[in-house]
């Protein structure tokens, strides 16, 4: 406080001078005081110079405000305020004390007023400064804003550039996708001017370039090739097109020709159209019959004009046939058909008896395909055999119905030889057509109580094995289960059997006709020996046949002297049995004759018994065994090279001849004196020979006498 009080006069003085000036300034007085103040330091207020213009003065003040220190001004302002307070207080004191010293009072008043002038100036300066500061601040702010803007721009630019850089870095060249040949391969294949080993060896980039070059080169070549190929292809297709056009233009011409030639076809008997019709039908045949038709007609075309093959049946029925008929049926019969059917057709089925149902089911099971293949075979002498092949859809077997138009003499004992039932029996060994050749049929057939298919042969025909073979079906015997696979009908099976089977059928028919003839003549008790075989027998054969009858297997087996033959398996139930009696004088020979269905391939077999005083058979008399051997074993010479059709007659003739020999040599053995019943009508070289005292049953045709075989 004391210091301020000490400084106060100084301040006061200054202020005074200032305030002294300020009213002057306004009043336009000279500027001695101002001059005085100008050389003062900055602490003094510059008083406007009376000599300067007001404008100058204004700017001067402006400058002044700049020059002066704000803090000093504040000191000045405080000092002035204090001065005023002091004056006020002084005036008050005086007023209180009533000292009406006016001089002092005035001086105080003047001094106080001066102080106000100072305050005024200071205020002005402060305002000015404030304005100036505000301006400068504004200016600075503007500058900063500008810089900020610039900074933002720069930052943006950098990010953009960075982006560009990464983009560049990430850029993938096309060559990376190209699959190049291996480096080793490249060096091996590329020409040196491309590969440039010395340059590319270390430098991966160069290497890549070189490889790309090579790739380009190669691709260029390939492209060239492609182009060539395309052009040649185009040429070819053009060629084809022209040819096609050519061919297409043929069709109408051909049609025209076909139309034109129709009358000629008819005239010449060349039924091309019918054939075409048949071929059309053939498409609807089930596979096995198709195979049969194809193979049979092929065989007909190629080798055998004496047969004909046709397809019969209603096309409409075929078309209405459901494709999965068989499968459906099989399913029906396996599940419970009664319930299903009952549900559907109650009224209809309830009325039916169980038997009717069974019949219906059987019929269903044995249903045939509506199309059949008919093969008719001409066996010569206007004997025609018609074979009607049907396909049982469910059982998957082919059956044959036979119709024989044969002109042949009939015999009583062999009446059934040419019957439709018997004619083709056992064409192949054991093939009697009585059971289904398809082993898988056993179950469905048994279920319906069908054990033998031959009971139905009237309606469906017989499922002979060879019919299956001709149709390309191949079943093996039911014993070998592993082969029981129902194979697709194959052409090779059919073709391999065709010729043989047809040959067999023809042979069978012819041999049956021949057998029929022989049987007819045997029934008349005569043996017809064909001229070519006459030399096998002597002119005179005195034994005669007195009877020839048909018998049965049971009859045959019941005869004791046939036992051994049955045991050896030489006799089957399917064979035909006959019994015949030969007579000469009081002697009788009874022979049991077995004729196999496969006659004459399987020659007839004879068992004999001689009644001459005693009953003698092969067991009691070696000579009779020899007769049997002569007839049964040495049949080969009784057949001519061309045919063996006369076999039975020849065997019978030989039996008669042997019987003669037996009787004539037998008499001799007995060495009894007196008249002989059977004088020697033939010449015998030796009546007996060897340990067995064998009889001379063999007729030597050259020398005309009988000898033993040796």
């Amino acid at each position: 406080m004391s210091s301020t009080s000490k400084d106060a006069p100084d301040k006061k003085r200054k202020k005074t001078s200032k305030s002294d000036l300020s009213p002057l300034k306004g009043s336009g007085l000279d500027g001695k005081k101002i001059k005085l103040e100008t050389h003062r330091d900055s602490r003094t207020i510059v008083v406007a110079h009376g000599t300067k213009s007001p404008r100058q003065l204004f700017y001067q003040e402006d400058e002044e405000s700049m020059k002066r220190d704000a803090k000093q001004d504040m000191e000045l302002y405080k000092a002035a305020c204090e001065e005023i307070q002091l004056m006020m207080l002084k005036v008050k004191k005086m007023k209180d004390s009533d000292s009406s010293d006016t001089a002092v009072l005035d001086e105080c008043r003047i001094h106080g007023s001066l102080q106000f002038a100072t305050l005024k100036k200071l205020n002005r300066l402060a305002h000015m400064r404030c304005k100036k500061v505000r301006d400068s601040t504004h200016e600075a702010k503007q500058k900063i804003d500008q810089y900020n803007l610039q900074l933002q721009n720069l930052l943006y630019e950098t990010t953009h550039l960075q982006k560009e850089i990464t983009k560049c870095l990430e850029f993938t060249s096309k060559d990376e996708d190209i699959e190049l040949v291996d480096v080793e391969e490249f060096y091996k294949e590329a020409p040196p001017e491309i590969s440039k080993i010395e340059k590319t060896e270390g430098d991966e980039h160069e290497l890549r370039l070189a490889r790309l070059d090579w790739e380009l080169e190669q691709r260029k070549q390939l492209a060239k090739k492609l182009k060539d190929a395309l052009s040649s292809k185009e040429g070819l297709s053009k060629n084809i097109a022209t040819k096609k056009e050519n061919l297409d233009s043929l069709q109408p011409k051909l049609n025209a020709i076909l139309k034109e030639t129709k009358p000629i076809q008819e005239e010449l008997g060349m039924p091309f159209d019918e054939v075409r019709q048949q071929h059309k039908m053939a498409r609807f045949l089930p596979r096995p019959l198709y195979v049969l038709y194809m193979q049979a007609s092929a065989y007909h075309e190629a080798c055998d004009k004496a047969m004909s093959v046709t397809i019969n049946g209603e096309m409409e029925e075929v078309k209405s046939l459901e494709p999965d008929y068989a499968a459906k049926l099989l399913f029906d019969s396996d599940s419970e058909p009664e319930e299903q059917e009952d549900g559907k057709k109650v009224s209809k089925h309830r009325r039916k008896t169980a038997g009717d149902k069974l019949d219906l089911k059987r019929k269903k099971l044995l249903r045939q395909h509506p199309l059949t293949v008919d093969i008719s075979i001409n066996c010569g002498d206007s004997n025609v055999l018609e074979l009607n092949f049907c396909y049982l859809m469910l059982l998957e077997v082919v059956t044959v119905k036979l119709k024989a138009n044969i002109n042949a003499t009939t015999s009583i004992s062999g009446g059934d030889l040419l019957s439709e039932d018997m004619l083709l029996n056992c064409l192949y060994p054991g093939d009697d057509g009585k059971t289904s050749p398809n082993p898988t049929n056993g179950y469905p057939l048994n279920k319906l109580g069908i054990t033998r298919l031959d009971n139905f042969s009237g309606t469906i025909g017989k499922p002979y094995m060879w019919a299956q073979w001709l149709s390309g079906l191949e079943f093996l015997e039911s014993e070998d289960a592993e082969f029981n696979v129902n194979q697709q009908a194959s052409n090779s099976v059919s073709s391999s059997r065709m010729e043989e089977t047809l040959l067999k059928i023809r042979r069978r028919v012819n041999s049956r006709i021949a057998l029929q003839k022989q049987l007819a003549s045997l029934e008349r008790c005569s043996v017809n020996v064909s001229p070519e075989h006459l030399e096998l027998f002597p002119h005179k054969v005195l034994s005669k046949i007195s009877s020839w009858k048909r018998t049965t297997y049971e009859d045959f087996v019941s005869v004791p002297y046939t036992e051994e033959m049955t045991e050896e398996g030489l006799v089957q139930e399917s064979d035909m049995f006959f019994t015949t009696v030969l007579e000469r004088g009081s002697a009788k020979l009874i022979a049991q004759v077995v004729i196999s269905p496969d006659y004459p391939n399987q020659p007839p077999l004879l068992a004999t018994q001689v009644h001459y005083g005693t009953k003698r058979t092969a067991f009691s008399d070696e000579s009779i065994k020899e007769i049997e051997a002569e007839v049964n074993l040495h049949f080969e010479e009784l057949t001519s090279q061309k045919s063996c059709d006369q076999l039975l007659s020849n065997q019978m003739q030989r039996l008669l001849m042997c019987f003669d020999v037996y009787l004539e040599t037998e008499e001799n053995n007995a060495a009894v004196s007196g008249p002989k019943e059977f004088p020697k009508e033939n010449i015998y070289q030796r009546t007996c020979r060897g340990r067995n005292r064998g009889r001379p049953y063999f007729y030597n045709k050259l020398r005309g006498y009988f000898i033993q075989r040796h």
Binding site: E477, E479, N632, A671, R689
Partner: protein
């Protein structure tokens, strides 16, 4: 017709081979096996060596099945059924009228050889047939081959050879070859051709003396022939019989006895070719059976050369050779004897009945043994081996009966 059906590697099935072809194949060393019908599938259990052929004789139905199993129809089809089946049934028919005329045992006593009316010699192994595990399969011939065109009437065995005779030449086969299963004719002797065509040989006798061995044959041209077996030279011909010679028997070193269709039994001196004695059994009242004829089909002489037995049309009778008189007649009124032999104190005989008779010297019948052949042509006793001492009966049947105890049939061999 021969059908070879390839089975598996090394197996070849040959069906119904014709005899000529069979012979050719045998000459090439091809082996034939006869497979019985019942064991046919089992037979495939054993593998035969390469190039072996199997001949199957059995009824055709099972054969067809069997073949289809083995080779499939496709292969089967390549062969003509007709021919094959005819041959198969032919072989069955052949079996039906087979007659085994002759048999002999090997020197070792282990094998039996038989000859039949088809000219086949079959060899049987006695150890196999008599073994405890024997079955029908082992009663089959181990080897069968065609030796003669038709009958084989006589078989004799020497140390080395089987000598067979019948139709055609006399042939000798080596016993040792049966192991290699390929038999070749070692030597053969032709019967001199005379008036009779192709005379058969009905009997063979081997006479082995010190330093020389000779073979006698009784033939269909009424003669006896004697050959030197070492050189093959025909030494002597004994002529005199009026009909063919049925049988032969050696009496001692210098005499041979023959029986003939002409009803005589002649005793020949082998040194002079002369007939020293002539017997006519049909003229003796007790033997004579005119209803059967006068032919003599069997003679036999006992070990001491004192007794002879002969028979045929006339009844079987025992003769004393020194006195040349008939002493005993064996009573079998309906039987014509076809074979007789001395064995110990008995006479064993067979004839045209399915029995073998054992007689005491006194004339009583000791045994009457039933057998398979309906007519007996040969009885043989294997005296060469004690283990396999059996009696074999052959005759008009494919079967050869073997009796271990001579009183009943033990088993039957079949070809």
């Amino acid at each position: 017709m021969l059908c070879n059906i390839p089975l598996k590697t090394g197996e070849v099935l040959s069906v119904g081979a014709a005899e000529s072809q069979e012979r050719k194949l045998r000459a090439q060393g091809v082996e034939f096996l006869y497979i019985p019908p019942l064991t046919i599938s089992a037979s495939f259990g054993y593998r035969v060596s390469e190039q072996a052929h199997w001949t199957i004789q059995q009824n055709h139905k099972s054969l067809a099945h069997f073949l289809s199993q083995r080779v499939g129809y496709e292969t089967l089809h390549k062969f003509d059924w007709t021919i094959r089946l005819r041959n198969i049934s032919l072989s069955a028919r052949q079996r039906l009228s087979a007659v085994v005329y002759s048999q002999c045992f090997s020197p070792c006593g282990k094998f039996l050889a038989t000859g039949n009316n088809y000219g086949h010699i079959s060899i049987y192994s006695l150890p196999a047939a008599l073994s405890p595990s024997a079955s029908e399969a082992t009663w089959k011939a181990i080897l069968t081959f065609k030796a003669h065109p038709v009958e084989i009437f006589a078989l004799v065995s020497t140390e080395q050879f089987i000598i067979s005779a019948g139709s055609g030449a006399i042939k000798a086969w080596k016993w040792s070859d049966i192991h290699s299963k390929t038999l070749r004719v070692v030597w053969s002797l032709e019967i001199p051709q005379s008036v009779t065509d192709n005379p058969e040989t009905n009997a063979l006798v081997v006479d082995e003396q010190e330093g020389s061995s000779s073979l006698y044959a009784g033939c269909g041209d009424n003669n006896l022939y004697q050959w030197d077996m070492n050189t093959g030279d025909l030494l002597r011909t004994f002529q005199g019989h009026q009909d063919y010679v049925h049988c032969l028997a050696k009496r001692n070193d210098s005499e041979i006895i023959s029986g003939s269709e002409d009803g005589t039994v002649r005793i020949w001196d082998t040194r002079t070719e002369e007939c020293v004695h002539r017997l006519e059994p049909h003229k003796i009242e007790q033997c004579s059976r005119l209803q059967f004829g006068k032919w003599i089909s069997c003679v036999a002489v006992d070990d001491n050369s004192d007794w002879m037995v002969c028979g045929g049309g006339p009844a079987l009778s025992l003769w004393h050779l020194r006195s040349l008189s008939s002493s005993t007649t064996f009573h079998a009124p309906k039987v014509c004897s076809q074979f007789a032999m001395f064995y110990e104190d008995t006479v064993i005989s067979g004839g045209n009945e399915p029995y073998v008779s054992h007689w005491m010297i006194s004339g009583e019948q000791k045994q009457h043994v039933p057998c398979s052949p309906t007519s007996v042509y040969n009885v043989a006793i294997n005296e060469k081996s004690n283990n396999y001492k059996v009696l074999a009966v052959a005759g008009s049947s494919q079967k050869v009966d073997i009796c271990t105890n001579f009183n009943y049939k033990a088993l039957s061999l079949t070809c």
